[in-house]
């Protein structure tokens, strides 16, 4: 077990280093001087040169790389060119919003997805099954921005139940969470249904029933525990994806989150901010996968045994 954790940690470090190097190299390869963007369209070349020096972009690439890696190790990603504040501070402030949004969206997706998946599987080929699967298909196929705009129009503009944008109140997070979780709920529901249907055909389920277990007991204690294994993988990946930024949802509902920060970094060629958000997102994806693996260990005795 310990060996496994150590291997995973080593892999995580290597992936992070790879991501750090990749983003660093790519930002140096693409044409265009960030100092020119920072100084605006009307700045003359002397001013741009001065700023290039001030930002340290005139230094040899290997020197810039050492500075960047040394800083990243200390958790210091530098100061954002465009916002003039430490990247770690900006990310911390944006991450709190993204975290709330991602957790609420995941809770919505999992709750709705798992419940509707179970009902659809248990009531296979019934009206309820067709209804839930139809709605989940809509969830999977509808782009997030469209769901966001439709929800915003009806619940905020027409019914005036939720604020149109902003996160001044808790209510401000509800619609974005539903919009963001809608798509995931559809995927989870479909996966739960298909996995559960397979498991319900297994011999050990018949055995449990033969022993006199109630339908609900069979479903929860025997079928769901096994059916959850692939679902957990999907949920962990979904959560890490949401945590690393939901650009469209954050833009439409005007939430200052990691996704919006990353877009700002790209459009403003803000190297420190971009490097920071990319590394942060990579770390979250690694963490999500690590979480999924760990839960596998807890839920699946076969994997524990192999380990």
């Amino acid at each position: 077990m310990l060996r496994n954790i150590l291997i995973r940690l080593l892999q995580a470090v290597l992936v992070l280093l790879g991501a750090a190097l990749l983003v660093f190299i790519m930002l140096r390869i693409i044409p265009g001087n960030p100092a020119a963007v920072l100084m605006g369209e009307h700045a003359d070349t002397a001013v741009i040169e001065k700023m290039t020096k001030e930002l340290g972009l005139d230094q040899p690439v290997h020197v810039q790389l050492i500075h960047y890696l040394a800083g990243a190790l200390r958790g210091d990603f530098g100061t954002s060119y465009s916002l003039g504040k430490p990247v770690s501070q900006l990310m911390a402030s944006a991450f709190s919003n993204t975290l709330i949004l991602a957790l609420m969206a995941s809770a919505f997706a999992w709750l709705v997805g798992i419940i509707s998946g179970i009902i659809a599987a248990v009531k296979k080929n019934s009206i309820l099954d067709h209804l839930f699967m139809g709605v989940s298909l809509l969830g999977v196929s509808m782009p997030v921005f469209m769901a966001a705009m439709v929800l915003q129009f009806f619940f905020s503009y027409k019914l005036k139940i939720f604020p149109i944008a902003g996160t001044q109140s808790f209510a401000g997070f509800i619609l974005p969470a539903v919009a963001l979780g809608w798509n995931s709920a559809g995927s989870v529901a479909r996966l739960v249904r298909s996995t559960l249907l397979e498991i319900l055909e297994e011999d050990y389920i018949d055995t449990a029933r033969a022993k006199g277990r109630r339908q609900m007991g069979v479903l929860i204690l025997h079928a769901m525990r096994n059916a959850m294994l692939p679902v957990i993988t999907m949920m962990a990946i979904q959560l890490s994806g949401m945590l690393s930024g939901a650009v469209l949802t954050e833009t439409i509902f005007s939430i200052n989150g990691i996704g919006r920060l990353a877009v700002q970094a790209i459009t403003g060629r803000d190297i420190p901010l971009l490097q920071g958000t990319v590394l942060f997102s990579a770390a979250l994806v690694i963490l999500g996968n690590f979480l999924a693996d760990s839960l596998y260990h807890v839920l699946d005795p076969r994997i524990r045994k192999e380990a």
Binding site: I30, P31, A36, I161, S169
Partner: protein
């Protein structure tokens, strides 16, 4: 049944609670709620020329550009109550308004003005041009001198500025937001000016009380302000990156003033021009949208080709179809709204047959002339459509204008390298003086190179530069118009397109609004009157 009733009651209570929290966002008296698409990067004019909302409202300048009843602009004294210019146009003696204090209570003196000038030069980033005209500026920039030789403080209320070269537009320049006067004492104490609201000390009608990055910032009335108390006591500027969300917020009563510029023109036409017609305020966005020609390019170096391009572009159709008529056709360099603008300049009319003929006479075969229109990926979506329209219209006369999209940083690099064939851009005027556009583009070789124009006529550039020094307004106007005529009709240095109209929509709580005279969207909150 009981369970259902309990569930319904709980849901209803939650909905009511949520609705109550939304209602809590309703505006208090004296509050103006508006929105911008992007957050500001700094409140310091030494570091930005993009976002002037805070500088315009929190700081004062020696002069201000104010709209007159006819829609024109005039320069009026603000912190400066009186000034004299020497006969040679080099020295300006200024008198400051007595009794002006900054929001922290310290007195605004001539030393603060001197500090403002020198600080812009020492910062060496944005907006150095205007203080750069003062004698001794180069020494301050190069750090050979600590103070400006041409800036003399007589006492707290009097000072004189001597320029390196005469400039009749100097007072107009001093009205630009770039010349916002800062408190020297505060500046010496603050490390990163422009980032923290508590450090942003000015003498204007408002104080910045809050700035939450990518969320909102708030301005509140400065009780120490020397001028008239404005109707708006508090301004909340929400950062809403999606234009459609802004639209819904406005219609929902969550915004009091909406800039319609970023909205889809179809929404403006179908919703705003029908439902809110009487609440729309329209003003020319003083500036020019133009298509450039690089005179080092294989084909564009030929004036006949440049003229043919100007004749082949149907600007009126572009205005009608892409801007729904919300733009003014321009024929020259000095746009409508600038005091030396020439209404009589003929420029080029749409004449595709004439364009073909001109190309043929110049010896070009059909399809031979080709160049690239470099499109900035960060440009406004309408500008991208303008590029497409131009490319199609030129194709009709046998000119290949291929559009190539560049990332903003790459686009800037290419343009600054003077190797960009052509591009469509907008120049927004900062102050009411023709030099703001004429000198910037055609004042010297460096300026034309930096914008990939490579205009070769040094004699004309010298004339443009010299026109700044003509102190008599009538003579100066005539000279600018004569140069403009040569640049457009003889040299076809660029293809002037149009000046767009800037539309705002006032909410139900707004009585009146006078947009600022300028080529940018920022406004004085004091020019909004609430009901």
């Amino acid at each position: 049944m009981r369970k259902t009733t309990t569930l319904l009651t709980t849901a209803l209570t939650c909905a009511m609670a949520l609705q109550a929290s939304c209602t809590a966002l309703a505006a208090e008296d004296g509050v103006l709620r508006t929105a911008v698409l992007y957050d500001m990067t700094t409140m310091d004019v030494a570091k930005t020329s993009d976002n002037y909302l805070v500088p315009m409202n929190v700081f004062d300048r020696l002069f201000e550009t104010r709209k007159t009843e006819g829609g024109n602009a005039q320069i009026v004294g603000s912190l400066c109550t009186d000034y004299q210019v020497s006969e040679d146009g080099l020295t300006y003696d200024f008198t400051l308004r007595d009794g002006v204090v900054f929001s922290n209570g310290s007195e605004l003196t001539a030393s603060d003005v001197q500090y403002t000038f020198e600080r812009l030069l020492k910062a060496g980033q944005e907006n150095m041009d205007i203080p750069g005209e003062v004698a001794g500026a180069e020494q301050v920039i190069s750090k050979e001198a600590d103070t400006l030789e041409g800036f003399k403080v007589t006492d707290d209320l009097h000072f004189s500025v001597t320029l390196s070269n005469p400039n009749a537009g100097f007072t107009a320049e001093l009205s630009a937001p770039a010349m916002s006067i800062v408190d020297a004492e505060t500046m010496e104490k603050v490390k990163n000016f422009g980032k923290a609201p508590e450090d942003t000390i000015g003498s204007g009608p408002y104080i910045v009380t809050e700035w939450k990055t990518n969320d909102h910032y708030t301005l509140e009335y400065n009780p120490k302000y020397w001028g008239e108390e404005p109707s708006v006591k508090k301004v909340i500027v929400n950062v809403i990156p999606d234009a459609n969300t802004q639209n819904l917020m406005f219609q929902n009563g969550e915004l009091d003033l909406l800039d319609l510029q970023s909205l889809d023109t179809a929404i403006v036409e179908s919703t705003y021009k029908t439902m809110y017609e009487s609440q729309i305020v329209s003003t020319p966005k003083v500036g020019l949208t133009y298509l450039t020609f690089n005179e080092n390019q294989e084909y564009l170096k030929d004036a006949n080709v440049r003229k043919a391009i100007c004749m082949a572009i149907d600007v009126d159709t572009i205005i009608a179809s892409l801007y729904n008529g919300n733009a003014i056709r321009e024929h020259g360099i000095i746009p409508t709204g600038i005091w030396a603008h020439n209404d009589q300049l003929a420029g080029y009319s749409y004449d595709p047959d004439g364009a073909k003929q001109l190309l043929s006479q110049a010896g070009y075969k059909d399809g031979e002339v080709a160049f690239e229109i470099a499109q900035d990926s960060a440009a406004d979506s309408n500008i991208k459509l303008v590029c497409q329209a131009i490319s199609e219209q030129l194709k009709a006369v046998g000119i290949k204008a291929n559009i190539k999209s560049y990332d903003h940083a790459a686009w800037l690099d290419l343009r600054n390298s003077s190797k960009m064939d052509s591009f469509v851009a907008v120049w927004g005027m900062d102050y009411n003086d023709p030099a703001n556009i004429m000198y910037t583009f055609f004042g010297n070789e460096k300026n034309t190179r930096q914008r990939s124009l490579n205009y070769p006529d040094t004699a004309t550039m010298e004339r443009v530069s010299a026109a700044r020094a003509v102190m008599d307004d009538t003579t100066r106007e005539q000279e600018y118009q004569a140069i403009e005529k040569k640049l457009i009709e003889a040299d076809a240095v660029w293809c002037p397109l149009f000046e767009s109209l800037h539309l705002y929509c006032m909410g139900d709580r707004v009585e009146s609004f006078t947009p600022h005279w300028a080529g940018f969207s920022d406004f004085y909150a004091a020019d909004v009157v609430l009901k």
